[in-house]
């Protein structure tokens, strides 16, 4: 791999990311899958970095999940999107940050469609007005929240308590990155680093001391694919794609995976259990899996937040070997206590995949 060759491509795909005043919208599913990730985003941006990040309880789904499940026509999704933009306009913001990759892709697709077909935009404006008496301005800047953490990665590194380095050997951790398909595959110019060699997560990992490991199926979809997962008859296709990625990753000794999508980390984490049950195979060291983290969880770890406050106990794959490797302290007895220190109960442990 020729690193300079990638740098050359990265230079071609830099997007302008304003430094402050963001209207923030959450994902439908991330708070269930990775309950502390969005909490960490507001915590880091507001309290650690002192940024103005605004959100409103009136925000709803962007319609992307239903659109991609073929249960919602695009025009309806567009009207929902128009309402979100109206909420942003009413709040006095023009920089729009979506926490969900599919939302981000949905917004980018809607804006591009309106650009190509202005008459459609006019019709949507009319529909929104008729339905809600709302009007909107289009965002001046559209970003995924990983773009923002990427933008502030070096400020986070300055405040970091831990680095992504093996505490015993001093070697950078070997980390694979996985980008949600809807981040840049539809519109390469909208993603930091483009679609073939995205830089958004690589930049964070490098800034925080780790090393990015490329592998042949890096660009491959995690397999979620909405209908692939949601329709049980198709679910084998979903996990087979995840399996393909892990098989391709296997020779590299990867110690963690970082992701920027709601679905990808969920499937790449949970399916390691399924694959272990089906094939007897695990991909981490000594029977463990490879921990899959969201970029906010990773940021939280390097900033020194308690792993259990980051919700890492809700991962399928045990994160303790990774914490030990970095030297992050944790209380094993507190793993299954909630934020209010109430007992969350213990999950039953799988047979093949080693967990705590």
């Amino acid at each position: 791999m020729i690193y300079e060759g990638k740098q050359k491509i990265w230079k071609d795909y830099q997007k302008e990311i304003p430094d402050d005043h963001w209207y923030f919208v959450r994902s439908c599913i991330r708070q269930n899958f990775f309950p502390a990730s969005e909490r960490m985003f507001t915590e880091i941006t507001r309290n650690v970095l002192g940024k103005d990040v605004y959100e409103t309880p009136y925000h709803t789904t962007c319609g992307g999940i239903a659109y991609h499940c073929d249960t919602l026509p695009q025009e309806t999704a567009m009207t929902i999107v128009a309402r979100q933009f109206a909420l942003m306009t009413e709040a006095g913001y023009e920089n729009y940050a979506a926490s969900c990759i599919t939302s981000f892709g949905n917004y980018a697709e809607v804006l591009e469609t309106w650009h190509e077909f202005p008459e459609l935009e006019a019709r949507i404006r009319e529909q929104l007005w008729k339905a809600t008496r709302r009007e909107f301005k289009k965002p001046k800047y559209l970003a995924h929240t990983s773009d923002l953490i990427y933008h502030w990665r070096n400020q986070i590194a300055e405040k970091a308590k831990f680095r992504l380095v093996d505490k015993d050997t001093g070697e950078p951790l070997r980390i694979a990155e996985h980008i949600g398909c809807h981040y840049a595959k539809m519109f390469p110019s909208k993603g930091v680093g483009g679609a073939e060699y995205p830089y958004v997560l690589t930049g964070m990992v490098e800034s925080w001391g780790g090393q990015i490991i490329d592998y042949p199926e890096r660009r491959h979809c995690c397999g979620y694919g909405f209908r692939q997962y949601h329709v049980k008859a198709n679910r084998g296709y979903c996990v087979s794609n995840t399996h393909k990625k892990f098989e391709s990753m296997e020779p590299y000794g990867i110690q963690a995976i970082v992701t920027n999508c709601p679905g990808c980390p969920y499937f790449m984490d949970r399916w390691q259990y399924f694959i272990a049950e089906q094939t007897g195979k695990t991909y981490g060291k000594d029977g463990f899996g490879i921990p899959v983290l969201t970029y906010e969880e990773l940021a939280g770890l390097v900033l020194g937040y308690d792993p259990w406050d980051l919700g890492l106990q809700l991962h399928q794959v045990a994160v303790e070997p990774l914490l030990d490797r970095i030297g992050i302290p944790y209380d094993p007895k507190a793993k299954y206590l909630g934020v209010n220190k109430e007992d969350l109960l213990r999950p039953s442990l799988p047979q093949t995949l080693k967990c705590f």
Binding site: M1, G5, K8, Y215, P216, S248
Partner: protein, 337 residues
């Protein structure tokens, strides 16, 4: 005093035209931006279908034009129209009045790194057709391993690719791939060699014979499907994905070397320049011939002629034939006939 004819470009088109113009009694003045004559062919090793050394052709042409005026490492800064011809201003300060100018500025090799999915400049063992010729010519290339077990050729890199901005077929790449595959097989008899193609466009004299020979004598495998993605394995080999369209199934294979058949594309500088003297530029970005059947050598401006790949993708023999035709056409024009 003999009459000047300015030739823009010192590739084989410009050289062959200069040779003919000398024979016809003119003083050809070649303006070449590089420090040597011969253009792309000077970098090439052997030319199909006779496998003659490309260097021999360039040498023969060089010898034949020893009496021409040749400005190397020189650019044209401007061309001004006169009532009866042109004044060509050069970067070395020389200005040349003349009644006829020959455009022989050739093509550009498509920048293979633009097809990001192939990883040219990113993966260790991805090269272009041009890099391979240079290696055949003796240049060192660490990307070519000593004992490759499997090698792939990707046809149509940047050609027939609307997304890359090029609708045209580059004509020579299919045949070049077959030729280079055979040459590699001769050097690495144990290597498996695959050509990934969309259509095989082997139209020229003896090209099909090369294809049959490549299949039968060299066991080169032709896979109908365009490579969609390249990755690098832990052993620094290449993992290549394509559809085997004849099987209707996705296909993957690991390779030690991938050769990208970079196509011929227009030189955007030339198109820019052409506008200053109102030369028509075609939809493919190449200079536009007056007509594509009987007037390939002629431009829309009197006294401005073309030869070779500045008007579109050409083979070496086509380029040479056009250069001769252009010289005669210029002669006819200067005689006022």
């Amino acid at each position: 005093m003999k009459e000047n004819v300015v030739i823009i470009g010192g590739g084989i088109a410009g050289m062959e035209a200069a040779r003919q113009l000398l024979l016809l009694g003119y003083t050809p003045i070649i303006v070449e931006k590089k420090d040597h004559l011969g253009g792309h062919v000077a970098r090439w090793h052997k030319l199909f279908p006779d496998m003659a050394p490309a260097g021999d052709l360039v040498r023969r042409l060089s010898e034949a034009i020893s009496e021409a005026n040749i400005f190397l490492e020189t650019r044209i800064t401007s061309i001004n129209r006169l009532s009866n011809g042109y004044v060509v201003m050069l970067s070395n300060g020389v200005s040349i009045p003349c009644r006829a100018v020959l455009g022989a500025s050739g093509f550009r090799l498509f920048d293979a790194s633009k097809k990001e999915e192939y990883g040219y400049g990113v993966y260790n063992h991805v090269i272009t057709n041009s890099d391979l010729e240079a290696w055949f010519n003796g240049a060192e290339d660490p990307r070519i391993v000593a004992d490759p077990k499997a090698v792939g050729f990707v046809h149509c890199v940047g050609s027939r690719d609307l997304k890359a901005g090029n609708s045209q077929c580059s004509k020579v790449c299919c045949m070049t791939a077959v030729k280079q595959a055979i040459e590699l097989k001769e050097r690495f008899p144990d290597a498996r060699i695959y050509c990934f193609y969309m259509d095989l466009r082997l139209f020229g004299k003896k090209y099909e014979d090369f294809y049959i020979n490549a299949q039968q004598e060299y066991g080169i495998q032709f896979i109908r499907g365009r490579v969609s993605e390249v990755g690098e394995t832990a052993e620094e080999r290449l993992q290549v994905k394509a559809e085997d369209t004849l099987s209707g199934k996705p296909l993957k294979v690991q390779l030690d070397l991938l050769v990208l058949m970079s196509g011929m594309v227009c030189n955007p500088e030339v198109a820019e320049f052409a506008r200053t003297i109102r030369l028509d530029v075609d939809s493919d970005g190449f200079l536009k011939s007056l007509d594509n059947v009987g007037g390939i050598n002629r431009s829309n401006q009197p006294g401005f002629f073309y030869a070779g790949a500045c008007t579109g993708t050409k083979t070496v023999p086509e380029t040479l034939a056009e250069a001769r035709a252009a010289a005669l056409d210029i002669h006819r024009y200067l005689l006022g006939k």
